[in-house]
């Protein structure tokens, strides 16, 4: 009897904990899974095709890196109740504020274009013309946000996050050798020695782990969700769960392309899906659906990030809890970003490859500034009070931020000068 009552008590406690988590989950999970956007999927697919399972260990290391950076935005948002754009304006003045806001808008818009490239490429495998993809995507994205409730948007987006897990069944369909996955993937190694090409791939993977929009997005989402200081532990847990999922998805993509395309030079996830359609139609289909979903999720979050940032600075009503007529500029900005980025993809002969490369270069002009501002703000006792960085936080965060700045800068520079690393 005593055993039964204890079992029931623990069962109720676990159910209650899960219910509270599902209530507070969202920003961390969404930002981390949306991080595996069209560009991210392409990077992982190319990495798996080039190096097989050998760099899985490296991707696992990137999970904590993403967590430590994004966790800071949870605390900053919950304590200040301001988004990152507004926080920069307020703390560092208008020069750094305008620089961050305008640079963010540019890099976000360029990234949006790459998301549309991914979505149109993903659906073109099924014979759907790009123009139809763009029209449908923009219509659905408008429908998702106009409910006038942050909660509704968040739960729909979390369902889309579940689709991102499609790479897991895809990996089981290709029947990888578990022995090889464990032996080659989980023991740190540099396949073929540490050379320029390997370094480029390592940089690309780090570059996709933390993007400027992620910092602005999560902080704004925490504010829009009206999270308070007492919710910080749940926000951190949510971010940690998201980091685990983002790594799991990346690892399974590597397993898929590492099994079927090992030794090939893959330039895009759409190309990988196209090749697989000929030999493994089910896997190719799952990869194409996953690519579309990744682009969709990325575009949804990135377009919102710009709207939130402009709304915060210009003082517009800027919450998903407002109806369209109550926050007309917020929704117009969101719609304008989506439509213009979608239209670029439809222009015949548009320099899409150049845009994809240019994203990396523009991103490295903003990422270091956004990260440094984050660290400075998190160390300010007047702003953060008892939630400021501890010594351990600072050691971990400053080390990670320094590494990200150095590597992402080298990646951006190597995009400008491709022969730099051999």
């Amino acid at each position: 009897m005593d055993f039964l009552s204890r079992f029931y008590f623990n069962y109720r406690r676990i159910i209650k904990t899960i219910q509270i988590y599902l209530l507070l989950a969202g920003p961390g999970l969404i930002v981390m899974i949306a991080d595996n956007d069209a560009g991210g999927i392409t990077t992982y697919a190319a990495t798996g095709a080039k190096f097989g399972y050998n760099l899985i260990w490296f991707l696992i290391l990137l999970g904590p890196v993403a967590y430590f950076v994004q966790e800071m935005t949870v605390r900053l948002g919950a304590v200040t109740k301001h988004g990152h754009a507004e926080a920069i304006f307020s703390a560092f003045g208008s020069f750094w504020g305008w620089f961050s806001l305008l640079d963010l808008s540019l890099v976000n818009w360029l990234t949006l274009v790459t998301e549309f490239i991914g979505m149109t490429a993903g659906l073109s495998i099924f014979g759907i013309p790009p123009v139809l993809t763009v029209i449908i995507v923009v219509a659905i994205m408008m429908a998702i946000v106009i409910s006038g409730r942050y909660w509704t948007w968040e739960k729909i987006t979390m369902v889309l996050c579940l689709v991102n897990l499609i790479y897991i069944p895809a990996a089981f369909l290709v029947h990888p050798s578990m022995d090889q996955v464990i032996h080659n993937g989980f023991i740190p190694n540099f396949p073929g020695g540490f050379n320029g090409e390997l370094f480029f791939f390592l940089m690309a993977n780090i570059g996709t782990t933390i993007a400027p929009w992620m910092i602005f997005f999560q902080q704004s989402a925490v504010v829009d969700k009206q999270m308070k200081e007492k919710d910080i532990p749940w926000g951190k847990f949510d971010t940690a769960v998201g980091a685990v999922f983002t790594v799991i998805v990346a690892v399974f993509i590597i397993i898929v392309t590492g099994t079927l395309l090992h030794g090939m030079d893959v330039e895009s996830a759409a190309q990988a899906a196209g090749i697989m359609m000929a030999t493994n139609p089910w896997v190719g289909t799952l990869l194409a659906i996953g690519l579309f979903d990744a682009g969709f999720l990325g575009a949804l979050c990135i377009a919102l990030t710009s709207s939130w940032a402009f709304g915060e600075v210009f003082g517009w009503a800027h919450s998903l809890n407002y109806k369209v007529k109550e926050a007309i500029w917020f929704y117009l900005f969101y719609f304008f970003g989506l439509v213009t980025a979608g239209c670029v993809v439809l222009i015949p002969g548009a320099p899409l490859v150049l845009i994809t490369l240019f994203v990396q270069v523009v991103a490295v002009t903003l990422l270091p500034a956004a990260l440094v501002f984050l660290i400075i703000l998190l160390n300010n006792e007047e702003i953060m009070g008892k939630y400021k960085n501890t010594l351990f936080d600072n050691i971990a965060n400053i080390t990670i931020v320094t590494c990200i700045i150095v590597v992402s800068s080298l990646y951006g520079i190597s995009t400008l000068f491709p022969k730099l690393f051999g």
Binding site: G93, S94, T365, A369, I376, L377, E382, L416
Partner: protein
Amino acid sequence: MAFSLQNGIIEPLKTVFENGAAAVVAINRKYAHPKITMSPVVKAALLLLRLYLIFLVALLAYKFYTIVTGA
């Protein structure tokens, strides 16, 4: 009523730009002074960021020069 270019397009656009400019001026006034304490560490970090951005702009300008001249 005939469509007038002045009333139909130019005037509304003028109003939008005037309102936009006024909003930018108001934002600049609101955030004229940084609220964060400018300790030596913060000053050094901001200086390094400026130098980093100048370096990146110089690299972009050099890349642009090599593309234009074919060097």
